[in-house]
């Protein structure tokens, strides 16, 4: 059912924010439960406004709970949204007139795509005020605030202040001083503007498409290893095959491990109420969302029970994937530190003994796993709680049984690649090829690897400039070393050739010369004489 599009002024006829190649509309599987939870809190008959480009799935979730209106600046986008049966306002934010109409405003795409090229260009704070006006007293706001110092920015090759795309007609980037730069300032700003904060979550790894949404308390005191690994994985997926300044997986893991998961998040998601905080105590208005939401295929919730144990539950099984059974993810979340991090920590200390101890323990455990699960016991998917290993993501099974030795060698191939591509220091610095390092690591795990292990079939990795620079430096060094080695080999060859020439001269002297022949004749005559003398004595 197509609805009519209301043109409010300032609409852009030849434009689309939904078809942008680099920046899709806000929306991800992890956002669905959040939007759903907030929509469920709408009063009967309450209306929702979605400001800016949002993915269809979010519009559908909202529309299922309440009459929903969508504000977009591009006419093409307005037509697309209208085709889904959602009421559409098309135009620029300053033209929005619907004061006091809505009970919920959703702006998960941020404030950056609300004003068209026509008319006033609102900064962040003015945009927020404009949205504020559309709410009834007590109405709620769900927005995403991009972190200008988020990991996504730190790894970006470009900067918003160096405009490239057609949409960057006002490239102010971090120079919008009205936009809060930290969760604390965001809270203070909202409070000063008459909002009361009900909930805040940190979103990783891209602002509009988070795969991990976690409350600050969970990031500070929750299952750090699992969250760090999840944030790293989210970053790896978000930047697969993309050129970046440095590997976002490493930054994400380091930030979450260090308790800075909120500070370095790509965005902060906020639920706030319009009006007096005392009228809306957070305990009463907090949306019923789990402390951690993550989407890696299936959508999962992490919750903590009264005893402090973290549990994982599947909210949405996602698209069925061959070899993956999301039901295996239900249950207690394994504790401990990621084996890969422990190995790297030992490697950069040149502590080969610790690496061997970790790998031997792990390899023995891999042998106890079901045949089809072994291939997934890679060191970046194993948590070590004290001495007890556990699969972080146990949902995968390979179609064929995998022998322990093959699983160990393949996992070591993958880890060797991580060590080398990441330029990490390790106890075997002279090993400069992945194949030999794989053999060394497999040996360190107590197994033999005599055949080349094929490169792991996995998703693309981010293409990091820093790692590329390190590889170039290392290759230059190897080239210089190889040149020196070649010269040394040439010197050795020359020495050996001289020795050979001397030996040949000696041989020739004794083999073909007149003197040698005379000596040989003399020796033969002597032997004959001696034999004759011996015979005569018998």
């Amino acid at each position: 059912m197509t609805t009519e599009v209301a043109l409010i002024g300032g609409e852009m006829p030849a434009w689309s924010d939904r078809q942008h190649p680099q920046r899709p509309p806000a929306g991800s599987a992890a956002l669905v439960p959040l939007v759903d939870a907030v929509a469920r809190q709408l009063p009967d008959g309450g209306e929702a406004l979605v400001a800016g480009p949002h993915a269809d799935v979010l519009l559908d979730v909202l529309a299922a709970h309440a009459p929903t209106t969508c504000l977009v600046r591009a006419e093409a986008d307005a037509a697309t949204v209208a085709a889904r049966g959602v009421r559409v306002l098309c135009g620029t934010l300053p033209k929005l007139q619907e004061t006091g109409r809505y009970d919920l405003v959703v702006a998960l795409d941020g404030m950056g795509r609300l004003c068209s090229v026509e008319g006033p260009q609102y900064d962040w704070s003015e945009s927020l005020r404009a949205l504020h006006r559309t709410l009834r007293p007590g109405g709620r706001l769900l927005i995403a605030v991009e972190n200008d110092l988020g990991v996504h920015r730190l790894v970006d090759l470009g900067t918003p202040t160096s405009p490239q795309g057609d949409e960057q007609w006002l490239p102010i980037g971090e120079y919008d001083e009205t936009k809060p730069g930290s969760p604390d300032r965001l809270g203070a700003h909202l409070s000063a503007e008459g909002w009361s904060l009900a909930w805040l979550g940190a979103a990783w790894a891209r602002p509009g498409q988070p795969a991990l949404i976690a409350e600050p308390e969970a990031l500070r005191a929750g299952p750090a290893a699992a969250l760090a690994a999840t944030a790293a994985r989210a970053a790896g997926t978000a930047y697969a095959g993309h050129p970046v300044l440095s590997d976002p997986r490493r930054l994400a893991a380091a930030a979450v491990r260090a308790g800075l998961g909120v500070e370095f998040a790509a965005a902060w998601l906020v639920v706030a109420h319009r009006g007096d905080p005392s009228a809306h105590p957070p305990s009463a208005t907090r949306p019923p969302v789990p402390p951690v939401l993550l989407a890696d295929g299936p959508v999962l919730a992490l919750t903590r029970d009264e005893r402090g144990t973290w549990h994982r539950s599947v909210l949405d099984r996602g698209t069925p994937t061959a070899g993956r059974d999301p039901a295996r993810l239900d249950g207690p979340l394994p504790n401990g530190r990621l084996l890969e991090e422990l190995l790297i920590a030992a490697a950069v200390r040149y502590d080969a003994r610790a690496v061997r101890a970790l790998l031997s323990r792990w390899a023995a455990w891999v042998g106890t796993l079901p045949d089809a699960a072994r291939a997934y016991a890679t060191v970046d998917n194993v948590l070590l709680d004290g001495d007890t290993p556990a699969l972080l993501d146990p949902s995968w099974r390979s179609p064929e049984p995998v022998a322990t030795s093959s699983a160990v060698a393949a996992a070591m191939r993958r880890f060797a690649d991580t060590l080398m591509a990441g330029g990490y220091a390790h106890p075997w610095p002279a090993v400069t090829d992945v194949e030999t390092l794989t053999a060394v690591l497999t040996g360190a795990a107590g197994m033999r690897c005599d055949r080349p292990v094929p490169e792991p079939q996995g998703p693309l990795k981010p293409v990091s400039q820093r790692e590329t620079e390190e590889q170039i430096r290392s290759l230059r060094q190897q080239l210089a070393d190889t040149r020196d080695q070649l010269l040394w080999h040439e010197r050795q060859l020359t020495k050996r050739e001289q020795e050979l020439a001397r030996a040949r001269r000696t041989i020739a002297m004794f083999d073909g010369s007149l003197g040698y022949r005379a000596a040989k004749l003399g020796a033969a005559a002597l032997r004959t004489t001696r034999k004759a003398w011996r015979r005569s004595r018998r």
Partner: protein, 279 residues
């Protein structure tokens, strides 16, 4: 790579440890530390080739090598430790006397000092009979050898070899056998032999005139005494001394056979050169 890798039959011991023919060890891809030293693990005149590993004994040596610009130092532990693991002691030791290793020079650096004074001090200090173990150079010097023979039994573990020729590949084996026969091991300088003895159950001692290598900086011997006091003196605490010796020999850096084969370049077939894949 370098012929020093075969000194004392080190390469042969490692080949045996890796399950290869000890009589014909493959070429080691790198430089194997052939004796305890306070430098980067290489001999003073070893022509190092950049990019190749120095297989050093201990972490301390690796750190020192790094600080000297040697980036490829790799800790593997002393070959002697591998021999110990290949030849565990047969039964309770029957030990007596002292095996005494006078500090020795080498082919291109002779040692200066008064052998007789050293012998007198050893005889006055050691509680039991003394076996003097001479380096092959001193052993083949009739005058020096005679001086030692007047004070005790005199042996030589063999010739360490040169340019892969005449290597006595039983050198370390003989040394291990002798060390297991003695209650004490002593020298006038901290050396590989003292460390070997200390980890083989001998009570170590380092005392007497440290003598001087031709052109050597005398401060070095004093520096070594300051650095490892637990191994110096006529009766150092054997427990502390043994722990210190184990650390210097890299007992915690020993590598398993499969890992060692890969490190030394002894895998078959040899790996194809490749760079780290990035995508």
């Amino acid at each position: 790579m370098h012929h020093a890798n075969h000194f004392y039959g080190h390469a042969h011991v490692l080949a045996a440890y890796c399950g290869l023919d000890p009589a014909d060890p493959p070429r080691i891809h790198g430089f194997l530390q052939h004796g305890w030293n306070v430098l980067d693990g290489l001999g003073p005149e070893t022509p190092y080739l950049p990019g190749l590993p120095i297989f050093v004994w201990s972490q301390r040596t690796r750190r020192r090598a790094w600080s000297m610009g040697r980036r490829q130092a790799t800790v593997v532990g002393a070959p002697y430790l591998y021999l110990l693991s290949l030849r565990p002691a047969a039964g309770p030791p029957e030990r007596s006397g002292t095996i005494w290793y006078p500090f020795h020079g080498w082919e291109r650096q002779s040692v200066a000092g008064d052998h007789q004074r050293l012998i007198d001090e050893a005889v006055a200090t050691e509680p039991g009979p003394i076996t003097f173990c001479l380096y092959w150079q001193e052993y083949h010097n009739p005058r020096i050898r005679a001086a030692y023979e007047r004070a005790g039994r005199v042996i030589c573990h063999g010739y360490r070899g040169k340019r892969w020729q005449d290597t006595d590949r039983q050198f370390l084996h003989q040394q291990l056998t002798e060390l297991r026969r003695h209650r004490r091991v002593a020298s006038n300088r901290l050396s590989s032999a003292v460390l070997y003895g200390a980890v083989t159950g001998c009570e170590p001692a380092v005392y007497g005139d440290p003598m001087q290598l031709n052109g050597e900086d005398r401060r070095l011997a004093a520096w070594i005494r300051r650095q490892w006091p637990e191994l110096h003196g006529t009766d150092p605490d054997p427990v502390d001394a043994s722990a210190s010796a184990a650390a210097e020999l890299g007992a915690d850096g020993m590598v398993g056979p499969d890992e060692l084969r890969a490190l030394l370049g002894w895998r078959r077939p040899a790996p194809t050169p490749a760079i780290a894949s990035r995508a």
